[in-house]
């Protein structure tokens, strides 16, 4: 097909009503359980992940209170173990990955100009699975069966011999749940980004956030199976007496570390790359110019995706590996600084050559740059084996990864929240409160974590519930605790800002920032069908480069949820396809898998019982229901 002149100024009004009806979900509780709209599910993902972020943050504050002075008495040793494990597991599995997954679910279809994800029900399934996993972890903590072996649950400590009870089993199943959700989300994103981009949005015109989501999704596909395997083997060792990690019968404890970190290191980039995508999205509109070095930025994302898989052994330098391995993984770890540095220079160039507007999203980005550089530098330090061996398992490492993760995940995320909040809600956040947030978060963060470098160098180990006064670690720990509370106040301010804006924030209109992405061309919040008119694209920064008479897509059915499928490379129109509407199946399937995974904590027969339930739910999912789509000409 080619664009042709036609006397249709815009979609007719009655068609718009029909479009809205076609793409709207049900109302009430039924609507909640059956919604497959990417905007609804993406929003749920982000809100749920932020709730877990606050909950994990409260655990962090409890730990800081305990460590604020020597021989603290806030938490006992056993509870402290549970608290740091649940804090780490929450931040990694229930906040870092899902919040970016949710942001991607919300934004990607809007950014590429389509009406929903390629597999709408899979998005819903991912959310329910994630929610069940998150509840399992926290209900466990409240019932005093919270996992207590660290967020990576190393064997042999987490094996059947040294960890009787169900705490580790709960951890293993939480991992399975959340990884399943992440995998479902990743496959969905790959298919959506490859096949549903607006006509004209060839790969080299794709927004950088979409690129970052694409690379992240591929990383999820190849990294998450490793941790699912490791946690399943651990669960099997504990439940049915296998010996994967039991040295007495030929198993191997180090194997667990290899499998875990083959996932665990890419995991860092799985959280970090969407952050880079957010930064690129924010920098351009606020520098008021196209982003500098688009190609370099894309290649850096892709390079990080590849190199990220070659670093895992640097988490294991202290385990006595061959020298040649040390050299290789040191080199690879230092190499990752190249794409990261390239991106940083591109953003600096964009800002330096633009006319920056110092609004809250950009301030968060500037905070990110400062913090991330420190985290990157300590990362290069830790890549050197002699330094790593010296500070292994000390607070230096804690400081390092909080600089990297809070710097490159939380700060960009908050930039993104301020940037896209008007799009999702139709209202503006307060700029004045926002500036207080940034200032407090930046100061609080540095006061909390910078002293931990020094504590680590002075020998304070990680994961100790207290220390003696003679160590001299007290004053710096007190400073760190004060900083943590300041950071907590910043998060509280964000909550206040959001609640105020939802009630009486000024209306934003479709494009309050004069930004470049397609998402800004539709209403705020977007209608259920995403766009009144499906757009076409003729350049990067779609809105800035569109022609005055840029064609729109017409000819899709409005009675059914029909979307356009385009070619992978050049996004030429290929065919039309129907998407499924609201359905209870995702919820039912998530419940069935939930019964299976939770049952497996207690008996292996849950696999059989749960398997039958899961199969039944799957048949219900796939079995065609009237009204039937276009029938084939030959019937049995």
């Amino acid at each position: 097909v080619t664009a042709r002149l036609a006397p249709t100024p815009s979609v007719e009004l009655e068609d718009l009503d029909q479009l809205r009806r076609t793409w709207s979900g049900h109302r009430g509780l039924w609507g909640t359980l059956t919604s497959v709209d990417h905007k609804v599910i993406g929003r749920r993902f982000v809100v749920t992940a932020l709730v877990f972020f606050v909950a994990g943050g409260v655990l962090a504050l409890l730990m800081r209170l305990q460590l604020a002075r020597p021989e603290g008495t806030v938490l006992g040793p056993d509870l402290y173990d549970e608290v740091f494990t649940v804090h780490g597991s929450t931040m990694m599995f229930l906040f870092g990955v899902p919040v970016m997954e949710g942001l991607g679910l919300y934004l990607v279809p809007l950014m590429i100009g389509t009406r929903n994800m390629a597999f709408p029900r899979l998005s819903a399934f991912a959310y329910w699975t994630y929610l069940i996993g998150g509840l399992l972890l926290w209900i466990g903590l409240l019932l005093d069966v919270g996992p207590d072996r660290g967020w990576f649950a190393y064997v042999p400590l987490s094996g059947p011999q040294f960890s009787p009870g169900k705490r580790v089993d709960i951890w293993a199943q939480v991992v399975t749940f959340t990884e399943l959700a992440a995998l479902a989300g990743a496959v969905n994103q790959i298919a959506t980004i490859f096949k549903h981009r607006a006509p004209g949005m060839s790969l080299d015109r794709m927004p950088l956030f979409v690129w970052s989501t694409l690379v992240t999704s591929f990383m999820v596909v190849f990294a998450m199976p490793a941790v699912m395997l490791a946690s399943s083997q651990l669960a099997a060792d504990r439940l049915v007496g296998t010996h994967f990690f039991n040295p007495a019968e030929g198993g191997d404890a180090l194997l667990y570390q290899h499998l875990f970190w083959f996932f665990g290191h890419p995991e860092v980039y799985i959280m970090f790359l969407p952050g880079m995508g957010i930064v690129s999205s924010v920098v351009a509109p606020f520098a008021r110019r196209q982003v500098f070095g688009y190609l370099a930025l894309v290649l850096s994302l892709v390079a990080t995706g590849f190199i990220g898989f070659g670093l895992w052994v640097h988490h294991m330098f202290a385990t006595g590996l061959p020298q040649i391995g040390h050299s290789f993984f040191t080199a690879a770890s230092i190499m990752i600084a190249v794409p990261s540095g390239t991106q940083l220079f591109c953003w600096i160039a964009t800002l330096a050559s633009g006319r920056p507007r110092l609004t809250v999203p950009l301030l968060y980005v500037l905070g990110f740059v400062a913090i991330f550089v420190v985290g990157g530098v300590t990362g290069v330090m830790l890549a050197a084996v002699p330094i790593d061996l010296q500070v292994h398992d000390t607070f230096f490492v804690v400081a390092h990864f909080h600089y990297v993760l809070i710097g490159s995940v939380v700060f960009p995320l908050l930039a993104g929240v301020h940037f896209w909040f008007p799009k999702a809600t139709g209202r503006m956040l307060s700029e004045r409160l926002g500036r207080w947030e940034v200032a407090l978060a930046f100061v609080g963060f540095n006061v909390a974590f910078f002293p931990q470098h020094a504590l680590g160098l002075r020998g304070m180990p990680r994961r100790v519930y207290t220390y003696l006064p003679e160590t001299g670690w007290g004053p710096l720990n007190l400073v760190s605790t004060i900083g943590a509370f300041v950071l907590g106040v910043a998060v509280l301010l964000l909550v206040v800002n959001v609640v105020r804006a939802l009630r009486r924030g000024p209306l934003s209109g479709p494009d309050p920032w004069s930004a470049d992405g397609l998402e800004w061309s539709t209403g705020s919040p977007p209608p259920p069908h995403g766009f009144d008119e499906l757009p076409t694209v003729r350049g990067r920064h779609a809105l800035w480069t569109r022609a005055p008479d840029q064609p729109v897509v017409v000819g899709l059915q409005v009675q059914h949820p029909e979307v356009l499928v385009t070619h992978l490379l050049d996004a030429e129109p290929d065919h039309r396809t129907h998407l499924p509407g609201p359905s209870l199946s995702p919820f039912a399937l998530a419940l069935a898998t939930g019964v299976t995974f939770v049952g497996v904590i207690f008996t292996p027969w849950a696999i059989v019982g749960g398997g039958v339930l899961t199969f039944a739910a799957l048949v219900a999912w796939f079995w065609p229901r009237p009204p039937h789509k276009t029938l084939h000409w030959e019937q049995p």
Partner: protein, 206 residues
């Protein structure tokens, strides 16, 4: 009315096969995930091998070897009806789909029966040693793949026999074939590593 340029897509087809179809990419993703699992399990297998002086520490025995060989043969042959049902789907030939998916389902069921026998007569359990654990790990994962493949094929067969058949079901048949190809292609190298390689290397391994 103002004249305006539009891109009219109403003439485009409603279905497309292979990598033009989003569902194909969904399946490719699933296959990538499961393949990564199997590759990591193979890595586990060879990693654990370093901890043993004799590998395998316990032989599987001739009967298991024979059943496993029969399994592998049935599985390899099942690629043929898969190919033919794919071609029938491309032609829109419902009778052909019924015939070849029917045969494919039967062959899958035979494979599962043979697997049942193998599981019953393996001379060691998963809790004997780490070799037993990883060996049973392979069988568990592959049995799961094959079982879900057979159930899927049976469901498609039921649909093809009962109707009503929507146009997009032809794509589903084709994509289901893609998944079964994965079951075949992923098990044969595992079978080779588990049953054949130890015999080939026994003399050289200390």
């Amino acid at each position: 009315m103002i004249e305006r340029r539009v891109l009219d897509v109403s003439g485009l087809p409603e279905i497309a096969f292979g990598h033009r179809d989003p569902l194909w990419w969904g399946c490719a993703g699933l296959i990538a995930i499961e393949s990564t699992m199997l590759v990591l399990l193979l890595a586990t297998y060879f990693y654990l091998r370093g901890n043993f002086t004799a590998w395998p520490p316990t032989g599987v025995g001739g009967r298991v070897q024979a059943y496993a060989g029969a399994e592998a043969a049935v599985l390899a042959l099942s690629a043929l009806p898969t190919h033919l049902s794919n071609r029938a789907a491309l032609r829109g030939d419902v009778r052909g789909i019924q015939r070849w998916i029917g045969l494919l389902t039967v062959m899958g069921a035979v494979f599962l029966l043979l697997r049942w026998r193998v599981l019953a007569i393996i001379p060691f359990r998963w809790d004997l040693h780490a070799y037993g654990s990883v060996f049973w790990g392979f069988l568990f994962l592959n049995t799961l793949h094959a079982l879900s493949g057979v159930l899927e094929n049976a469901t498609i067969l039921l649909l093809a026999l009962r109707g009503p058949i929507e146009k997009k079901h032809l794509v589903d048949v084709h994509t289901g074939g893609f998944l079964w190809y994965f079951v075949v292609a992923s098990w044969l190298p595992c079978w080779f590593v588990l049953y054949i390689v130890p015999g080939l290397l026994r003399s050289q391994w200390p």
